[in-house]
């Protein structure tokens, strides 16, 4: 079985009349834990949409499992950025996971026991068995993310795409979730791409970073990518990478204050 799951050569993506990023080369191998990092609107969600076959590249080559990306590839488990979960979504967690397993089937369910078993296994794999009969609307942010992870794992994928799972969590919950994802990556040997703004909660678990900024993409191990020289080249402005005594990283734009740009909606890049 080939170990290369994703291969991008000279890949340029965007929308009519607008390139989001260009000439990117990167790869993801079986069982790798990869962070996709970059400012809002840099095109991180766009990358996922390409991998999912929901959007076509403007030019270049993209291979997923050795073939053109196609919508509905069962080898991919996906957790999108925002789920609408509000008070009206009073539905037990196991039902969502179960639908991810059998929701594509038409007609009445003929194998309820098997579906329930698969959903329970997925919930157990993320330590959320006790949430099975809880309402989605009653969960905390961290619990929700675990259930979404189970939803993605229930079809036993070989690659996980997780879009900003940490964005609504406090530091402690984010750390717990990253540890859980890290252990899922190792125990199931499932390649995982995780979109995040901040690399710090992830850094000790990562095999690779894909850094997107300023229409360009840099990739490699965290130590190789996250240097002042590389990020300065990427952003086209003087950027310094500072390390603290605990191994945390601060990415700092020397001229314009802290690097993180003002909030803008990532979805702006999708329309």
């Amino acid at each position: 079985m080939p170990s290369e799951i994703v291969m991008a050569r000279d890949l340029t993506v965007g929308y009519k009349g607008r390139q989001v990023w260009r000439s990117a080369n990167f790869s993801v191998n079986r069982g790798e834990f990869v962070a996709v990092i970059g400012p809002n609107g840099a095109g991180k969600t766009t990358m996922f949409r390409m991998l999912l076959g929901l959007q076509q590249p403007l030019s270049g080559t993209l291979r997923v499992f050795g073939a053109q990306p196609r919508r509905g590839n069962p080898k991919i488990g996906y957790v999108p950025q925002r789920h609408v979960i509000d008070n009206e979504t009073n539905i037990e967690c196991i039902e969502l996971v179960r639908l991810a397993y059998s929701g594509h089937r038409w007609g009445l369910s003929l194998s309820a026991r098997e579906e329930k078993r698969a959903a329970m296994d997925a919930l157990e794999a993320v330590g959320a068995a006790e949430l099975a009969d809880k309402s989605l609307a009653s969960l905390s942010g961290g619990e929700l993310q675990r259930v979404f992870l189970a939803e993605a794992l229930v079809s036993d994928p070989e690659m996980l795409l997780l879009d900003e799972p940490l964005s609504n969590l406090d530091i402690r919950r984010a750390k717990e979730l990253v540890e859980l994802i890290g252990s899922v990556v190792r125990s199931r040997n499932v390649a995982t791409l995780l979109v995040a703004h901040d690399i710090n909660p992830l850094i000790q678990f990562l095999d690779k970073v894909i850094y997107i900024a300023n229409g360009k993409v840099a990739t490699g191990t965290p130590e190789r990518v996250l240097t002042s020289k590389n990020l300065t080249a990427l952003y086209g402005t003087h950027v310094e990478v500072l390390h603290d005594s605990l191994g945390h990283i601060l990415i700092h734009s020397v001229h314009g204050g802290p690097e993180e740009p003002p909030e803008e909606d990532e979805h702006a890049a999708r329309h």
Binding site: H83, S140, E143
Partner: protein, 291 residues
């Protein structure tokens, strides 16, 4: 109200069923309540209540058109609502949430319906009131058959697409990535909803459509976390409210749809009140930190 002893209810029902219009009303009302409870659950889950209201008012224009040319109102309202459903289906999923566009279309539909009623030769005030507030006691034999056929078709299609539709309603992004036909399913639901609404307005009228199409399901969603059981409860509430409304209206000279609306609304208030009490007892800070 004092409960009647069982034997008295039985003899009361015997009295009621001696009248054919009451038999018909119970038959049609029951079919419609079943359909409304099931489709209503998906309406609540998909937050399509406004679309339900829109089809109802588009159905008014069609029903009034039928009155003008002298056919059964149900035929006109079905045709108009399904046409509206197909239009929104073709425009795409997101169209069902475009409040301004839908609002503009339904205002025009109401105006058109008013014009048709004014042009028709009969008593336009009575026709308008029947269309707006329901006319279950005046339902004709041909309407019963048509209602039965449309309801069965809606139910069969709903059973066929139940799981994909539930999944798409709950998690559209993941369903899309899994290659499911989200646009097709959303469009299909718009047509199912349009058909269900146009049969239901016979009971509740155009303006009280929420009484059967939204409120029973809204109650069920609050009480039950498992979709199949929630749907069963929504159906039970809609059916019981319809029966109770017909039963009371036989003895009390006020409109059926008023009683049905009042019964489901009282239940809704009660459930909201009870859930507020239980939620405040089980309140925990963690429940609010997540998104």
């Amino acid at each position: 109200m004092n409960m009647l002893p069982g034997t008295e209810i039985a003899s009361a029902l015997q009295g009621i069923f001696r009248y054919q219009f009451m038999q018909h009303a119970f038959e049609v009302g029951t079919i419609i309540a079943v359909v409304a409870g099931i489709i209503g659950y998906l309406v609540v889950l998909r937050r399509s209540a406004f679309a339900a209201h829109a089809y109802s008012e588009i159905g008014f224009a069609g029903g009034a058109g039928s009155v003008l040319i002298g056919t059964t109102p149900l035929i006109g309202s079905l045709a108009a609502a399904i046409l509206g459903g197909l239009t929104i289906a073709v425009l795409g999923n997101r169209a069902s949430h475009r409040d301004i566009e839908i609002g503009s279309v339904l205002a025009f539909a109401m105006g058109l319906g008013y014009l048709f009623l004014t042009l028709s030769s009969g008593n336009d005030a009575a026709n308008a009131i029947n269309l707006l507030f329901g006319d279950i006691l005046g339902v004709s034999s041909s309407s019963i058959l048509l209602t039965l056929v449309v309801s069965l078709m809606v139910l069969i299609v709903t059973v066929l697409v139940y799981r994909p539709l539930l999944f798409v309603s709950l998690d559209e992004d993941v369903a899309e990535a899994k290659g499911m036909p989200t646009l097709l399913l959303g469009g299909l639901f718009m047509v199912l909803l349009a058909a269900a609404v146009s049969v239901a307005i016979q009971v509740t009228g155009v303006l009280l459509i929420f009484a059967l199409m939204v409120i029973p399901a809204a109650i069920a969603v609050r009480l039950i976390k498992r979709p199949k059981y929630a749907i069963a409860l929504a159906v039970a509430i809609a059916v019981l409210a319809t029966w109770a409304g017909l039963f009371i209206a036989f003895y009390v000279p006020y409109p059926v749809s008023f009683f049905i609306t009042s019964i489901v609304f009282a239940m809704y208030l009660l459930v909201r009140l009870l859930s507020r009490l239980t939620v405040s007892r089980a309140w925990r800070p963690g429940a609010l930190t997540g998104a």
